[in-house]
Amino acid sequence: MAETTGIKDYIKPENLVYKKTGIMTDNILHYCPGCGHSTMHRIIAEIIDEEGLQSEAIGVSPVGCSVFLYHYIDIDWQEAAHGRAPALATAIKRLCPDKFVFTYQGDGDLAAIGTSETIHSCNRGENFLIVFINNGIYGMTGGQMAPTTLPGMKSTTSPYGRDTRQMGFPLKITDIVATLPGTYYVTRQSVHTPANVRKTKRALRKAVQYQKLNKGTCFVEIVSNCPSGWRMTPVEANKWLEENMLPYYPLGDLKTPSEETSQKTNNPE
């Protein structure tokens, strides 16, 4: 049997259940196996594609593992200095209000070195989307402690586990920005299961609409993983994410536009 069927026999239109999103480039993703960044890139590409935003989108990539985001999605990009993406985006959106503007930032970038830019752009209600990838660690530089590292969690700069008396508690920056009047829609999602991917897409779609309506800052946190920095296999990492990250960073909307709040109570999703 093995001689008679080969991979070629399966590549038929009726068997195709998955294909490359149009505006992803052909560059090979450099991420470690199982890394949430890859999934998120695809989701963002899909949203931009499906919403027909390619010609309007200006993305700002961070310093972190996703620094080369601009290699992968075929739109215009600016690469910011570490932590400064919201400052760039502020100017971009103010000077080009018709464009769809977003930043994509890790937890070190957004919640450590860039806290000030994050808080102040949200506080000014800058009308762009911030996508915040929280993997609880500095992936790119080799697994150092991030502001979001969980209590007791080991990293190369918390080799005995994060001691909250010395190193503070994990910063729930999403909760903080939700309290600022400038933010319009603040939500925390994940992409570690297909169901969560669908919810994340829904959240991003809303953010796109709100930006069109000039509503203010939309902030979408993605609780993600870092199999390499966590020293786990991809499967272990996703399990660990569920068991440890999600209790600390529970998924769901933190701030929704008031007309939707009533719906939200009916539908806990």
Binding site: V67, Q144, M167
Partner: protein
């Protein structure tokens, strides 16, 4: 106490030497190729042994200002980073120089500009030696070319910083930070129990209050302060020039190189000598103050001088000033994180000898 032999990375040597030098505090933010310094200190946990505080700051801006605060209390404090992080620190460094505070800043240089590369480079020479931040000031700049010197210059750096009340920079690079060599570690120095009399430690009835500031709105007094700094820098130029020479006695072809490039050039000297070319190497150990006088003297016998550096030619300007037009001076070096090879240097020299 005896010195201890270890095999270590340059970055690890800085960390261990800081503990042994009796440092009171370290503040830093991760960045390649120097993150091992913070990682090593976190693992070593010196707070338990010597009481040295180690803290991961939220950014380099925060780290250098923590250094300001610690230094103003008269403590021995340091921070380390690599090029992009050092750029962020420049404002703080200028304030530290303006407030005449002693501290140690280590730059494990990577290629730029911008985010650049994480591979070794020497492209931050201007920033380190000519200022970096705003205002009229200088750092004392030490340029280690081995893991041993990475360790030794921590203690030396602190001594110079306190002697002159001036920030000291160790200007290293990714190669020296990442490589392992043998290193003899100094015995532990106890953390100082006393602090200088200018430090802010709480005003006692016995003394005037201490104010650490870099602000002076009166132009005359600010100029007076600038003159005081110049005098200090002149004293440093007079007393603290350090360099090393390799086969310079009869050198007709002089390489001037520091750090990793100096190691490369040592081999270039051997290769050139094997081919009958009388080459020598002058290695500045201090980049500020620069060994201008010695280079000037050596240029008397030299036919060609090469400034070999992993940059587009920055130290070159100081070499040119030292030689003052007496001998042809050329720059040679690779960029972008590429380390020059010894053979390339010799080939370039030969090209110049032939008038290329």
């Amino acid at each position: 106490m005896e010195r201890e032999l270890r095999l270590m990375k340059g970055n690890e040597a800085v960390a261990e030497a800081a503990i042994r030098a009796g440092a009171d505090g370290y503040f830093g933010y991760p960045i390649t190729p120097q993150s091992e310094i913070l990682e090593y200190l976190m693992e070593a946990n010196p707070y338990q042994t010597t009481g040295m505080v180690v803290l991961q700051a939220e950014s380099e801006v925060a780290a250098i200002n923590m250094v300001y605060g610690g230094a103003a209390c008269g403590k021995k404090v340091l921070t380390t980073s690599s090029s992009p992080g050092i750029s962020l620190m420049q404002e703080g460094i200028s304030y530290i120089a303006g407030a005449e505070l002693p501290c140690l800043v280590v730059n494990v240089v990577r290629g730029g500009p911008g985010l650049g590369t994480i591979q070794p480079a020497q492209s931050d020479y201007f920033q380190a030696v000519k200022g970096g931040g705003h205002g009229d000031y200088h750092l004392i700049v030490l340029a280690p070319s081995s893991v041993q010197e990475m360790a030794d210059f921590v203690g030396l750096g602190f001594d110079l910083a306190f002697k002159y009340r001036n920030p000291v920079m160790i200007l290293s690079d990714g190669a020296i930070g990442q490589m392992m060599e043998k290193v003899w570690l100094s015995p532990y120095r106890e953390r100082s129990k006393t602090v200088p009399d200018w430090a802010t430690t709480g005003k006692l009835p016995s003394r005037q209050r201490n104010i650490i500031t870099s602000l002076e709105l009166n132009p005359e007094r600010q100029e007076e302060f600038n003159r005081k700094l110049i005098n200090k820098y002149n004293e440093i130029k007079e007393k603290e020039v350090r360099y090393e020479e390799f086969q310079c006695e009869d050198a007709e072809y002089l390489f001037v190189a520091y750090g990793t490039s100096a190691r490369v050039c040592q081999k270039s000297v051997q290769i050139a000598r094997n081919e009958g070319l009388k080459a020598g190497l002058l290695r500045p150990v201090t980049l500020f103050p620069f060994p201008s006088e010695r280079i000037g003297t050596l240029s008397g016998r030299a036919k060609i001088i090469l400034s070999v550096e992993m940059s587009s030619g920055q130290m070159l300007e100081d070499v040119l000033l030292s030689v003052n037009g007496e001998v042809p001076v050329y720059h040679f070096g690779r960029m972008g994180g590429i380390v020059t090879t010894p053979e390339e240097v010799v080939d370039f020299l030969k090209l110049k000898i032939m008038g290329g």
